[in-house]
Symmetry: C2
Subunit: 208 residues, 2 copies
């Protein structure tokens, strides 16, 4: 019974914390994974692939999922629906995969409310604000305004680290990767509440 | 900052679940450990060693620890004090060790209340009641009465598995050891609340 079912690993952290590099380091060592991606009703664009960039669905399908309470969260933006559907998540879990979520603090709360029994959360933080500023400036994809906004967001997010199971202060990629590897392996060992209850009941009903 | 401080791993489970065999399998792979042992005021017996079987202390020392609220729990039995002192635990933690507790469900609650931020708990269960009965009978150290009492205790303890972070159903020693190894390694990655708060405050006080 141990370890047959999938589990969830939530990764949060400011842009520039190094989540993607960290994941790249460990992804081949932590068993079969599924990256949770958003579901949308908007038209697929050139170069996009269904199931890679988004799950592209019809408005009818999306609304059916809403009715079935399958969304962690969703929004209607500029005439299109966007959301995080639990359907592909549950499919991946049933296949024994580790489902990876790259979401913010609010998203983590939502995952916890719905699937907290099999979910482990990790906050990945840059070591210092000046290091974060440097990283954001070095990648030179953002304007100064955007960088300033990202720093402010980081400051806010970091205030909620205590909501996470683990904190990784990412000042050394190799060291942090080793930590994430260990956490990811352990996260797979969570057993769903319903399986625990089944096991407990089996013992409860025994006559000694 | 990651992983400098010690952490706590609580192991619970009925007699016959295989805790000792499991620990023996993993103890050399999980870094420096300290086994929490009880403190007592009773006289040391032939063959016993201070710091191995018990921490032997004077009544004066014991009472001082009580006054300083250093005991997780203690009892006065047949004229002697027995208890679990947090002093050696805190010393081991400050040395970066993983502190192992072999305690029951009540003990786990007490550890959680005092040191929950750095504590990980594992319940080790035999797969079935008949397997547990067989194991207890095979070691032939207990009378039928004692075995019956152990089975009843096991049944009660198992009802509280959901209070634990992990459940290991120990039907295969090698597989269970691999699971415990992973959990133990991850348990070391817990960061104490005060260090988290320090980190958060460092960011809070920054002017952007």
């Amino acid at each position: 019974m141990n370890n047959n079912t999938g589990a969830i690993l939530v990764l949060s952290g400011p842009s520039g914390a190094g989540k993607s590099s960290l994941l790249n380091e460990v992804i081949n060592d932590i068993g079969e994974c599924y990256f949770s991606i958003s579901t949308t009703t908007r038209a697929i664009r050139n170069g996009e692939e269904n199931g890679v960039h988004y799950h592209f669905v019809t408005e009818e399908e999306f609304k059916k999922d809403i009715e079935e309470d399958s969304f962690l969260e969703y929004a209607f933006v500029h005439g299109n629906y966007y959301g995080t559907s639990l359907k592909p998540v549950k499919k991946a879990l049933s296949e024994g995969k580790l489902v990876l979520f790259d979401i913010d603090v609010q998203g983590n709360t939502l995952v916890n409310n719905r699937l907290g029994d099999i979910s482990t959360s990790v906050f990945i933080s840059p070591p210092t604000l000046s290091e974060l500023r440097k990283r954001l400036q070095d990648r030179s994809t953002d304007t100064q305004d955007v960088i300033q906004r990202r720093l402010e967001m980081a400051k806010k997010e970091i205030q909620r680290i205590s909501e996470y199971d683990y904190l990784i202060i990412n000042d050394n990629l190799k060291e942090s990767a080793e930590i994430l590897r260990t956490i990811a392996k352990a996260s797979r060992l969570k057993i769903p509440d319903n399986e625990i209850n089944e096991f407990v009941q089996k013992w409860e009903n025994i006559d000694l």
